[in-house]
């Protein structure tokens, strides 16, 4: 039964008081116990699958509205991945929900132990604008699979997708435990003031800090999926045609570079750079034609603010002077063409901040070694990529470069594998999800130990005689003799 007062909570004038009402409603929904059953969780996930199937056209249209996202990208990167996440969870959920038996040692003999997964309770998911459909629904799927009640706050920078969620999600899921709140900074702030059992945020580091600071007031655990400058190190002994295709599709084929795992910049040797640049130019022309601004296969820049942010990166003359390909802009349609820059100054703004757009600097060094040093001198990125056939370089890269995730000889794909945890480290984030990692992210793993009343060890208790202390030492260190003595009730009264 819906409380009519709660209906008002979503929408205009959403302030602290309304946020409190929303959370109270979700807490009541959670406390009722209904989100705990397999049946409820499966019903919600099946509802989401139906929603994606029924509303595929509307979703693609919203994504096109918000980002001019090509249909193929919408399908590949948002719709299919979202559906795959649901079907994977539906397939595996029973197994994930089962308690995990663990071995026990002599110290606690006889006993049995298991780890029981339970939902944390009421969670808040704050999503981003670049994959506004996927990055909203994916964590929600994890939260539901783990048995939680959840509030979703989609990004206002992708308003069409946000309002689509507000309209369709309630129709396909249980309203008392799954809610959508639209809004921008005031609404998000109101939500962050409330006490949640977990907050899952996707976005940038600046807001990530705000989220974590707010969470600290209630000691709420957080997962932060942030970004960073994802480097691509390209060795000279590669199939350069394939390499540039894979780099290009990971860069411009992912929302025109506005993706957290998109290659941010390339590193290669001075001697190989000309070959690489040449091959990249050919690939780009093949992908997007001679007039990329006209290509329907490129997303636009999301809004004027980001357009200006990107074009101002090129304001620095030392930077614009290094453009070797592209550079075309259309402010009216918020389009920027794939742009290659060769050897921008390391201290320029374009090499300091995450680019999140279609500009690709190529930095060259004399040795590959220097490239590795360069990567390690910067903050840990969400993803790091290496193209090489040299196994030793591959091993060195994996051992010495720290990043959320890594791909050798490809880009971006790892986020599609549900067996790999997806998340950052250091500046690129805290926590991971996808597949079972989503389920775990929203669960508490409760340790349950069961003993009987036999096997009592007086040695545990005072008064502490020397004999007792001897047995105690043995017991803690797993000595069978100590255990036997303890079982026999030594020392006696």
């Amino acid at each position: 039964m819906e409380n009519p007062a709660e209906e008002e909570a979503v929408g205009e004038g959403f302030d602290g008081a309304r946020a409190a009402v929303l959370v109270a409603g979700l807490r009541r929904g959670f406390a009722s116990g209904r989100t705990r059953s397999y049946e409820w969780r499966a019903a919600q996930l099946k509802g989401i699958v139906r929603m994606i199937d029924d509303k595929e056209a509307e979703i693609m249209a919203a994504l096109h509205d918000d980002l001019a996202k090509p249909h193929m990208e919408s399908y590949l990167h948002e719709i299919s991945l979202a559906k795959a996440a649901c079907t994977f969870a539906l397939k595996e959920m029973k197994r994930w929900m089962k308690p995990e038996k663990v071995p026990t040692s002599i110290t606690t003999f006889p006993s049995s132990a298991e780890i029981v997964s339970e939902p944390v309770g009421v969670v808040l998911v704050i999503s981003a604008w670049n994959y506004p459909f996927l990055l909203s629904i994916d964590p929600v799927i994890g939260a539901i699979a783990a048995g939680n009640a959840v509030a979703l706050k989609p990004s206002e920078v992708a308003p069409a997708t946000s309002s689509l969620f507000a309209t369709i999600l309630p129709k396909y899921t249980d309203n008392s435990c799954v809610k959508v709140v639209e809004g921008s900074i005031p609404e998000t702030t109101a939500l962050l003031e409330q006490k949640w059992d977990k907050i899952f945020y996707t976005g940038n580091g600046k807001v990530g800090r705000i989220v974590m600071t707010a969470a600290a007031k209630h000691l709420t655990p957080v997962a932060l999926e942030l970004g960073g400058k994802c480097p691509v190190l390209v060795d000279s002994n590669v199939n350069v045609k394939v390499a540039t295709k894979r780099i290009a599709v990971g860069k411009w084929g992912c929302n025109n570079g506005q993706a957290c795992v998109a290659p941010d910049y390339i590193l290669t040797t001075k001697s190989f750079a000309p070959t690489l640049v040449d091959a990249m130019k050919k690939t780009l022309e093949k992908f997007y034609g001679k007039d990329p601004l006209e290509s329907p296969d490129l997303s636009r820049i999301v809004n004027a603010k980001h357009f200006r942010r990107l074009t101002s990166l090129l304001d620095d003359e030392r930077v614009s002077g290094t453009i070797v390909y592209g550079g075309q802009q259309d402010e009216k349609h918020l389009k920027i063409a794939p742009t290659l820059l060769l050897d921008v100054p390391h201290d320029s703004l374009i090499m300091k901040e995450e680019i999140f757009g279609p500009l690709l600097p190529i930095i060259t060094f004399n040795e590959v070694e220097d490239c590795l040093d360069f990567i390690n001198s910067k903050a840990k990125p969400l993803a790091a990529y290496l193209f090489t056939k040299d196994k030793r370089l591959e091993e060195r890269f994996v051992k010495t470069v720290s990043a959320g995730g890594m791909l050798i000889n490809d880009t971006a794909l790892h986020l599609a594998n549900p067996h790999l945890p997806f998340g950052g480290v250091g500046e690129s984030g805290i926590g991971a999800y996808h597949g079972k990692f989503s389920f775990d992210s929203f669960s508490h793993k409760k340790a349950v130990l069961s003993r009987g009343f036999g096997g009592e060890a007086p040695a545990r208790y005072p008064p502490y005689t020397p004999q007792k202390q001897k047995i105690l030492r043995g017991l803690i260190n797993g000595s069978i003799i100590a255990l036997l003595l303890a079982i026999l009730g030594w020392p006696r009264g």
Partner: protein, 479 residues
């Protein structure tokens, strides 16, 4: 310690980490082995320090701190290589040839804050995990246990790599200065109040934290028909209240829930057990300091609370001694029943039916542990399914702490982040996803321009529909 000194320490440790030496199996092993030696050779020193700080009997010191650490470091040494080995993950056939694996790596430089009640145990237990995971470490023990703090400051550099593992002594001001530096992980054991400060400081650097807090951990005492079972159960309850550090323990029994008809039996047994364990009180730890002594005295000062004392109640502010005290049904709105007691006062709350204990517990913040003494399977299932706590232990107390295979940590008000055993290793690691591909087998329909004919291919790919994909590739199926 001055800010510039703290910064110096942080920089030194960072430089040590960046040299790469903490990453090798050899370094980690050598440090763990050194810790083993420290625990064996410095036993007397530890007993002395704990006696000074808390009046802890050496049996208690061994049982609750030293012995546990020996067990943990042995377990880490046995399993270290296994933990460090990357593990393969399945990759869909479609992505052939592709290899996926999870590679654990150290986070970098870790800051550990420990608390005063198990000052050596709670300092070195996370240290074991941080070392096993290959990190460099700064440990800040609690200034409220100064002898233990000094012990650690002296012996850790003596046995371990003093450039990579440092101990910093001091009070809240030093803690504050440490929090201004950038760390790759902060591990905190202590109170919620300070945990908030730690997490807020960590947020400035996006530093992940783990906070091990406390709460009011209840013991549900169901009716047990066998007298022997009752005796054992009550000994275990006493063993979780007064025996460890006079109740100043996060996983202790804070209060007991019992059906009103069985309360007299419970109380009798408690009194008998206390007499048996404490013919004299020299085995009992004292209260840590005057501030906490005052805090505890105040809890029972309230006349409506004092009236419910049925055993004990005497206090000695000279020796900071509080007698084991039992209260029967103190008012539920008293501070005693709303704050974590962390001392030798045991409220017994009676209920009409033992099943009511579930609702009682659910109405309150999630505790670090719930203890339940019962043979009733139905009650057990209900407690497991309907309550939430860091851990849940049936028919015993405290001992879950010694299980390397069980994660230890809180939930909700009792904290977040889990450790012990491999969970310690994981807590101080980043699990990096690595996918390796080759240049063979290109699917050109992956790439722009995304003509209409490519979409059906991609649909087959995403549905792992190999047959249709093959047919399409062979041109035997279109659209």
């Amino acid at each position: 310690m001055e800010s510039v000194e703290v910064e110096g320490v942080a920089n030194e440790v960072r430089t040590a980490y960046e040299s790469g030496k903490t990453r090798s199996l050899a370094w980690r092993r050598s440090q763990l082995k050194a810790l083993q030696r420290l625990l064996y050779e410095e036993e007397e020193g530890m007993f002395t320090a704990l006696k000074q700080d808390l009046g802890k009997h050496q049996a208690e010191a061994y049982r609750d701190e030293v012995g546990i650490l020996i067990k943990s470091v042995n377990y880490a040494l046995e399993n270290l290589k296994k933990w460090m080995t990357p593990c393969r993950v399945p990759v869909p056939l479609l992505a052939f040839p592709t290899r996926g694996e999870l590679v654990p790596e150290p986070l970098g430089v870790v800051l550990i804050f420990s608390s005063w009640n198990f000052p050596i145990g709670l300092s070195l237990e996370p240290l074991i995990g941080a070392i096993a995971a290959g990190n460099a470490i700064v440990l800040k023990p609690s200034e409220l246990a100064p002898a233990s703090s000094n012990f650690l400051a002296k012996s850790v550099p003596k046995y371990l790599d003093s450039m990579s593992v440092k101990v910093v002594r001091g009070g809240p001001d030093v803690g504050q200065k440490l929090l201004e530096q950038k760390w790759d992980k902060i591990f905190f054991t202590g109170s919620s109040r300070v945990a908030r400060i730690v997490m807020a400081a960590a947020a400035k650097h996006l530093t992940p934290v783990a906070v091990e807090l406390g709460g009011k951990s209840p013991a549900i005492f169901d009716s047990l028909s066998s007298a022997r079972d009752r005796k054992v159960a009550v000994e275990r309850i006493v063993g979780a209240k007064w025996v460890p550090c006079s109740g100043q323990v996060c996983i202790g029994v804070d209060y007991v829930l019992v059906e009103e008809q069985f309360a007299p039996i419970l109380i009798d047994q408690l009194k008998a057990t206390l007499e048996k364990f404490y013919p004299r009180f020299d085995c009992l730890s004292r209260i840590i300091n005057e501030q906490h002594f005052q805090r505890l005295s105040n809890l029972i000062k309230d006349p409506s609370v004092a009236a419910t004392i049925i055993h004990g109640g005497s206090l000695d502010s000279e020796t900071l001694f509080i007698e084991p005290t039992i209260l029967l049904d103190p008012p539920l709105d008293a501070e005693l029943m709303n704050e974590e007691i962390f001392g030798p006062l045991l409220p017994i709350i009676t209920l009409k039916k033992i099943e009511d204990s579930i609702e009682f517990i659910r109405a309150r913040p999630k505790p670090l542990v719930i203890y339940a003494f019962t043979k009733d399977e139905r009650l057990r299932s209900r407690i497991t399914a309907e309550t939430s706590s860091g851990s849940l232990t049936f028919n015993d107390t405290m001992i879950q702490f010694a299980c390397d295979e069980l994660p230890f940590g809180g939930v909700g008000g009792s904290g977040f982040g889990q450790y012990h055993g491999k969970f310690s290793f994981d807590m101080f690691s980043h699990t990096k996803a690595v996918l390796r591909r080759s240049f063979l087998l290109e699917f050109t329909f992956r790439y722009p321009p995304w003509d209409a004919w490519k979409l059906p291919f991609m649909r087959s790919v995403y549905h792992f529909d190999y047959v249709t994909l093959l047919l399409r590739l062979l041109g035997l199926k279109r659209g």
